[in-house]
């Protein structure tokens, strides 16, 4: 990770204005977005959008040609190019041919992508941004920090300083007054401009139409007052038919700003009359800039389903801490990471891809149904493939991939950790590892790992068998969770089998882009877990469960390895998370919890993989309720705790404030006990409370239920 990048993160997370503004915005957005989508079947809607955009992505050449033909027939001039330099030259040429002195622009990310303003200014043409946010950052000499709200990082005081300089008058920070100043200042620019430049939210091949959406009304002026209109449209904005506009218009404003529709929508189909009676000189530029290459990539084609709503930024736990500028100069947030890797270069995404905590929030809300976290993982994989792993990581994974050595080292660590251990926690670590325990104590490595403890547990005769996949944390830090699981399953008449050859699930390697290592882990585990004939493979760690049920398969697929795919599928079909299995056993009457207990208040933390990949949220709540706990939901119950495997190690500056927020939300419920289904979350949250000297208890659901079994 570059020093500059680390510094940018450091600066951002310590900018109270920024994190305060973004924090409030993300909270309000969640509520408002839900309201805007009331009565709408979001899954159906995004299914349609994904389908029509995916169709378009498969037919970019045909649709571009069709668009060109239709728009040209109406009198527009259509210019198609792959090359950003050609776009810049074309626009400058049109300007020169028509003696253009000033240009007004409405918001266009495509023009940002090719750095058009600087190019035109250099050629002596004055360019004025007219979207209020864009104008603010233009005056400030900055770049947008958010695709929809470009100046979200600035305070009204900063804006009033900028405007005061611009109008030579001391202004206060009254927002309506500042907006009025912008109106008065920009109006003469609109009226004087020779050329208007816009982007395009949608381009319709069937009719040669472009669709422009704004709230301020600036695009209406940009496309009406100057005698020349240039629209720069990325070819991913193409759709096949006029009727396809409707679903995008339904989702885009709701997802972007929680509006039912933007104040203004203009559908322009060919040139229109100017105020002097002449016809508009309308130029539409269809820009490729690697979009066709993206469409040809089986993995990244889906990124072209993006409608640029920026909801992936709005729900991102990391974005709300660091803001847009840490991500780069043009496209920001989750989708921005992907677009930067393509439109700029893969290398440019090296640092920013590591910002993704893989919590899956963005995937849930994306109206284009893009699996953004998965695509970021793919970027990681390709970076590692191209450049290899950093040395330290390589050393770690060579150990992880050697099960015996790995387990021996973990046992050794149990002893080596001793000098730093206080009770059940590692409170301080030496030297460069100190960051790890800055805000959170780590669990001491258990004196007796689960694999040893298991041999001492006596199980009753059972007719059914379940294979237990412990995962590293339960095996080496929290063996008591494994013991609790055995107790519960035995009560339901299920014998628990623990194949010793099981090893790390490969998630740490995979999340670092080391897919070859992850594939090695997958093969070892498949062999071990399928070696016993059992009904279920159960895990009490959602990350491990996801590895077994989803990621072994996708790791093999990404690497093009087919040998172990059938076995991976067989394992996936048998794999179940702990709460789902126990809920099923209770429903079937095979397991009973003590009745009529009043165990007091509890709150529940949803772990990312459990909630958003396995879609399990109600099962643990119902079980805890049945056991006698009274559930009080915390604010943002399904927001990441900041652990995310090795993320907390690589990005402590981001992970820590995410953890702090989670701890506060738990405290605010007033409950003295918080339950969760993931040992990683337990480690993170328990460690956080330990550092706080808080007496709030942090428990895995498996432990709580094991205490409440009917005799």
């Amino acid at each position: 990770m570059g020093t500059e990048f680390k510094e940018a993160i450091h600066e951002a997370v310590n900018n109270a204005n920024l994190t305060g503004a973004l924090g409030k915005f993300s909270e309000a957005y969640k509520v408002n977005r839900a309201k805007a989508y009331e009565g709408i079947d979001f899954e159906e809607l995004r299914g349609r959008i994904a389908e029509l955009k995916s169709f378009a992505a498969s037919h970019l050449e045909e649709l571009s040609a069709q668009f060109e033909q239709n728009a040209t027939a109406l009198g527009a001039k259509v210019f198609r190019t792959c090359d950003p330099a050609m776009v810049r030259e074309y626009i400058l040429q049109v300007a020169r041919d028509n003696n253009v002195k000033t240009v007004v622009k409405s918001k266009s990310m495509a023009t940002e992508e090719i750095h058009l303003n600087a190019y035109l200014e250099k050629a002596g043409i004055s360019v004025g941004e007219t979207d209020l946010g864009e104008w603010i950052i233009q005056l400030a000499g900055q770049t947008p920090s958010h695709m929809v709200l470009p100046a979200i990082h600035m305070t009204k005081e900063e804006v009033s300083d900028l405007f005061s300089k611009e109008v030579n008058e001391r202004l206060n920070s009254d927002i309506p007054r500042l907006v009025k100043v912008a109106r008065e200042r920009l109006r003469p620019m609109f009226l004087a401009a020779d050329m208007g430049i816009s982007g395009g939210n949608i381009a319709v091949a069937e009719t040669g139409s472009i669709v422009l959406m704004t709230n301020e009304g600036n695009a209406r002026l940009v496309t009406s007052l100057p005698r020349i209109h240039v629209a720069l449209v990325g070819i991913e904005k193409l759709i096949a038919s006029y009727a396809d506009i409707a679903p995008i218009l339904k989702a885009l404003p709701r997802s972007a700003t929680a509006q039912l529709l933007t104040s203004y929508v203009s559908i322009i189909t060919g040139p229109t009359p100017n105020t002097d009676g002449s016809m508009k000189d309308l130029h539409i530029i269809l820009m490729d800039n690697r979009r066709s290459e993206m469409a040809a990539d089986p993995k990244f084609k889906q990124a072209l389903q993006c409608i640029r709503c920026a909801s992936c930024l709005n729900v991102c736990q990391v974005f709300r801490l660091v803001g847009g500028h840490v991500f780069g100069k043009v496209y920001t947030g989750g989708i921005g990471t992907i677009l930067t890797a393509w439109f700029d270069e893969l290398k440019k995404s090296e640092d920013i891809q590591s910002l993704c905590i893989q919590c899956g929030n963005c995937k849930e809300v994306c109206p284009g149904k893009i699996d953004i976290p998965d695509l970021i993982m793919e970027i990681r994989r390709r970076l590692v493939q191209e450049q290899g792993l950093p040395l330290l990581q390589k050393a770690i994974y060579s150990v992880v991939n050697n099960r015996r050595l790995f387990h021996t080292m973990l046992r050794a660590a149990s002893l080596a950790g001793k000098p730093f251990t206080s009770g059940k926690f590692l409170r301080h670590l030496p030297l460069f590892l100190a960051d790890l325990t800055d805000n959170r104590s780590l669990p001491a490595i258990a004196a007796e790992p689960f694999r040893d403890l298991f041999k001492k547990i006596r199980q009753p005769e059972c007719t059914e068998k379940a294979v237990f996949y412990a995962g590293c944390l339960i095996d080496f830090a929290y063996p008591e969770m494994g013991a609790a699981l055995i107790k519960i399953l035995n009560r339901a008449g299920i014998e628990v089998v623990f194949p010793e050859e099981q090893t790390c699930c490969g998630a740490p390697a995979r999340y670092s882009g080391a897919y070859e290592v992850a594939a090695g882990n997958a093969i070892d585990n498949i062999k071990a877990l399928l070696s016993v004939d059992a009904q279920y493979v159960v895990s009490a760690c959602p990350t491990c469960t996801v590895a077994l049920s989803h990621e072994f398969i996708s790791t093999f697929e990404s690497l093009g390895q087919t040998e172990w795919l059938p076995q991976a599928r067989e394992l996936a079909a048998k794999t179940v998370d702990f709460s789902t299995l126990v809920k099923k056993l209770v429903d079937e009457g095979r397991l009973s919890l003590k009745e009529g207990r009043q165990l007091g208040r509890i709150t529940y933390h949803d772990s990312c993989h459990l909630k958003r990949t396995l879609h399990v949220a109600e099962q643990p709540r119902e079980l805890l309720g049945k056991a006698g706990y009274e559930l009080t939901e915390m604010f943002e119950c399904d927001t990441c705790c900041g652990m995310a495997g090795s993320y907390s190690i690589k990005m402590p500056e981001i992970s820590t404030p995410i953890l702090r927020r989670k701890l506060q939300n738990i405290k605010d419920t007033g409950a003295s006990l918080v339950a969760m289904d993931c040992p990683g979350c337990v480690m993170q949250i328990r460690g956080g409370f330990d550092q706080d000297d808080s007496d709030i208890k942090v428990r895995h659901t498996v432990e709580l239920l094991a205490e409440q079994l009917e005799d």
Partner: protein, 182 residues
């Protein structure tokens, strides 16, 4: 559908009225222009763009207010306080007005003035966007404009502020007597 439209349009700070007759609409406009101080000087003009509402109407019956003009130029529009134009359709589910704005004067009066009075046929209310897109033939409508409430921004500290580049007030007058637009 009118009630649904009104609820949605109210929700985005438009002001919605409904009248039986064109005469009643004219009376409202006359009163409104007087109250808003429309006068024959820069910054106080009111421009009324062409439309079926005005077509065939005896000019004598139109309000005789100094500053109310029926010719629309770029210069006058830039100095107008109030713009009046006629819409063709409305969308009930979003409170949206829709106009074939191909003629530039239609856009001038509705985008440059501080207050936009939009007259719309009650019979032109459609349920939603898909119905509209099935109704309009884009080949015959070069500039299809949709307007949902007044101009707005949240670009400074995400505080909703009305009236950036477009009108800060949108007054919608539905008229039952105006036939469906189409």
């Amino acid at each position: 559908m009118y009630q649904q439209f009104k609820a949605r349009a109210d929700g985005v700070s438009a002001e919605v009225y409904r009248f039986d007759t064109k005469t009643a609409v004219l009376e409202f406009v006359r009163q409104f222009l007087l109250e808003e101080g429309v006068a024959d000087r820069r910054g106080f003009y009111s421009l009324w763009a062409k439309g079926s509402f005005l077509n065939g109407m005896d000019r004598q019956t139109l309000p005789a207010i100094p500053g109310l003009k029926f010719e629309v130029t770029r210069e006058l529009a830039a100095d107008a306080r109030i713009g009046i134009s006629q819409m063709h359709w409305a969308l009930a589910d979003t409170g949206t007005l829709v106009q074939d704005s191909t003629a530039i004067e239609q856009r001038l009066v509705s985008s440059l003035s501080s207050i936009h009075i939009a007259i719309a046929p009650t019979a032109g209310i459609l349920p939603d966007m898909p119905t509209l897109l099935a109704t309009v033939n884009p080949k015959k409508c070069a500039y299809l404009a949709m307007i949902t409430g007044p101009s707005r921004t949240a670009d400074i500290e995400r505080v909703l502020t009305i009236g950036v580049h477009g009108p800060e007030r949108l007054i919608i007058l539905f008229c039952d007597e105006l036939g469906g637009a189409g």
